[in-house]
Symmetry: D2
Subunit: 287 residues, 4 copies
């Protein structure tokens, strides 16, 4: 049977679950997994339903058309994803490659059901690694202190790849360039960054040095959606590891890398499985 994942949000109101489950029953669909959340603060309701379409007489087109009508009635923001279609992911990286290597291995071993049609870097360090996975590598350099215009030119090339490769998700796997507001706008809701601190602590550059200097006893990492407010995008996932006074910035950095890999991998997997819904500047994650 075809399988779908439906995600939706709308103003909270009585009977949403009933109407959605009724729609699915009427269209010969069987719910495999379902989760919902009503935010008391924003008065928004969020839902994710994984279902199989078991009635061969119902077409994909009919399902989408009929749901659009329901969605209109209830003023829903909704998406219907083919559960068997692998999202297409672009990875961007600079000179630190542990997250890239981790994502590539998960992809190759089938743990991350995505297509990766392109890797973009402003450096050449990971050309060979990309080649060993047979993934096209695009070297789009940016000189230190490049002008805004030069940056826009480089970013336009990235966006061209996004368009040409039909990219669903851009992952900044330690890509050490600040994106322009235009670029952020173009990638809104589909770019995930890994920041090497437990935000909102230690925003900005060199967070492990900041953490060492402050003498914290835990260090961490944060995966978040990219927005034009640097390090302020909606948080998707965070984790931490214990450290102590005897560890210098280099040790913190090494320990932190393991946390970054795992946190980013979780965020990407949840995105791919349509488990993340945005709720203003926050996220709902149906794990």
């Amino acid at each position: 049977h075809p399988e779908y994942i439906l995600t939706l949000s709308c103003l909270d109101q009585r009977g949403i679950v009933h109407r959605v489950s009724g729609f699915l029953a009427d269209h010969g669909c069987n719910i495999i997994d379902s989760a919902q959340f009503g935010d008391a603060q924003s008065k928004l309701f969020f839902m994710r339903v994984h279902f199989s379409l078991e009635d061969a007489g119902v077409s994909d087109e009919q399902l989408r058309g009929d749901f659009a009508a329901l969605g209109d009635t209830m003023q829903m923001n909704w998406q219907l994803h083919d559960a068997h279609k692998k999202p297409r992911m672009l990875i961007m990286v600079s000179k630190i490659g542990h997250c890239l290597n981790d994502l590539l291995f998960r992809y190759k071993s089938g743990l991350l059901p995505v297509e990766i049609p392109a890797i973009v870097s402003n450096h050449t360090d990971f050309y060979q690694l990309s080649a060993s996975y047979n993934i096209p590598f695009h070297h789009l350099p940016l000189a230190p202190g490049a002008s805004a215009a030069a940056k826009r030119t480089q970013e336009d090339k990235v966006l061209e790849i996004v368009r040409d490769c039909d990219i669903d998700l851009v992952v900044l796997a330690r890509y050490m360039q600040i994106l322009s507001p235009e670029m952020c706008a173009a990638l809104k809701g589909k770019a995930i960054n890994i920041h090497h601190s437990f935000l909102p602590s230690f925003k900005g550059a060199k967070p492990y040095y900041q953490a060492h200097d402050r003498g914290v006893k835990l260090i961490g990492a944060t995966a978040h959606f990219v927005t034009s407010d640097l390090d302020e995008g909606p948080i998707i996932e965070q984790d931490v590891e214990r450290v102590d006074h005897s560890m210098g910035p280099d040790t913190l950095t090494a320990i932190g890398r393991d946390v970054e890999c795992v946190v980013l991998a979780r965020a990407v997997k949840w995105f791919v499985e349509q488990r993340i819904l945005q709720n203003g500047h926050k996220t709902v994650v149906f794990r």
Copy 2:
């Protein structure tokens, strides 16, 4: 409005969510929170719905009667709890009181919405602590090496308190007596024990000594339902803490106590909020 928590399990089949949500809509109920889970292995479906009854014309009696009909049709195992009614909890303890003290303080500060009509102990160590919370303390001693008959006599007194006080939940907060099979049967599904290891490791006596002897790098605690298979009951919650070679059994014991308090408190809270459903020898916990 009156609020209810409905918990149910039945064989998985198409349309359960739809029929339950339809029932609630038809009876003027608004879903506040809902969670469900289908176990692919046992083919059982589990659901918990928290809802408010907003139609003043629908009585408690009518709601229960009508749902019984639906439950029969679908061969559900179900319970409908008044969300505002505090469960009545009996705590049993021996000579180690950190879990008792922790539960009592949560109760007093309103973090644990229960009534505690009685505390039972085979020792007198915590009589004054119980008195300071104004909770009746029952000293029901058991001589070391007491006969099975003597144990049954003592246990019957406990069960009498359970009946007289209309107890919904018995918490073994480091009660260091093995319950007889009859007692386990009498308390089936409503007695929670805290075991001081991450089960199934280190079953039986002195788990922190076993852990020290084995040289593990993590120690933990497990809250589980009481069954006649010692330390084999359905696991509700577990947690661990890191330890190292420099720590002797006493230090492990001290560190473990903090884990025990938190793990038991979570299990009790989830029970009280009707979040735990039994699935054979396992649990479904809708956190």
Copy 3:
């Protein structure tokens, strides 16, 4: 045998360990436990040695006098504590008592080897709890919006208790008043506060509300020395717990309380065992 804990810091230089261990050997002392740390950044060396004095011919006075000479030679900042003498601890609390209750129970069950000669509060909520442990309770109220002068008067009363009771450690166990710079100076190095966030995130008031608003996926607590820079004192211990989108500020607060208890209890225990040395605005903790 008498037991001592020696803590020291000085400029890093060759032979410190050798000279200290030589001193102990010459004075009939046996090392039970020893730890050291050289900070590459500050060029300071830190050491903690737990030893027993096994030569009955060496007096406490002689040991201290002789070590003073060595300490002078190497320009050490050092302290020699009688390991069997219980530190004297003052607890301050306002209207939220989980940390107070937790510390009192650890004290009573012998897990925290301290004397508690006094509890101070600006409210009366925990008078009865204090009385149940037979500890003198001092109600020193502060009107909302009290003048700086009124605050100084109240603080002077606290300091009088500190003096009269010969207090070694002041624990702010959710004491919701900002101490004046004078008070901070008077308690320098011997006052520990528990802050309900993983600092440096969410400084200031209502951290769980800030955390909820930011949508973080972990919440935490921080125990730190009190300094006049609010929430900027040297961090002693931190921990976190996982949360998700479905939890409101109240739930975050409840979850956070368990973290606060454990984090504060660890910090207090380490202080009592002379495991914490200050290194500028950071701490060295010999766990």
Copy 4:
């Protein structure tokens, strides 16, 4: 300056630290880092000292010769490692490669200071991955149900590689063959295995299936020295991750893999840095 790491164990006795630190001072050595531990149970004393030899007049030979004399006097079990010499590591793997991939990337990025002269597998799945790192790959197959003699023949080839490549550490990175007692004896103290459960829970095969069946709320991994008692070797490191009822064995397996990578990588790093000392069937880890 040359740097060394000295590790030693001996019966606990007064003055060990003093004599070792005296030896080092007399030989123009400066202690960079030092840790010690006295086991109250086994009465053994363990020490690790990282030092630099700053007196150009003292040769490596003289240092070793003189320490041998001290070691004899105190009946020490000791080793003196050149801190700049990279240990030589052999990785063994079967068909599951996340740990191999993780170790290779750490090696390549300089996070793991080792030489890797060979990779051995009973399958060919990771030939290309090995080749992309330019490391010789040895395919030493073992037919299912191979005889003990066939296994010994295959193992002898492994031991030949160990000898020829001068291997210091053999890492079983998900190598799914049980080693013969002879092989275990030959690799005593220098072979580390990763087991995919928090031992001693779920020994033997398919631990994630066992964990799922038991309904535990945490799953984990354990790195341990290989001994002929299967899954009973001295534990070096463990960690866990939280799981819940909704996760099937496949999800547990996927989550567990991340834990395995990190746990094994820590154990290998500590071995390489000479931080692990065996204490009977347990380990002392000077982190």
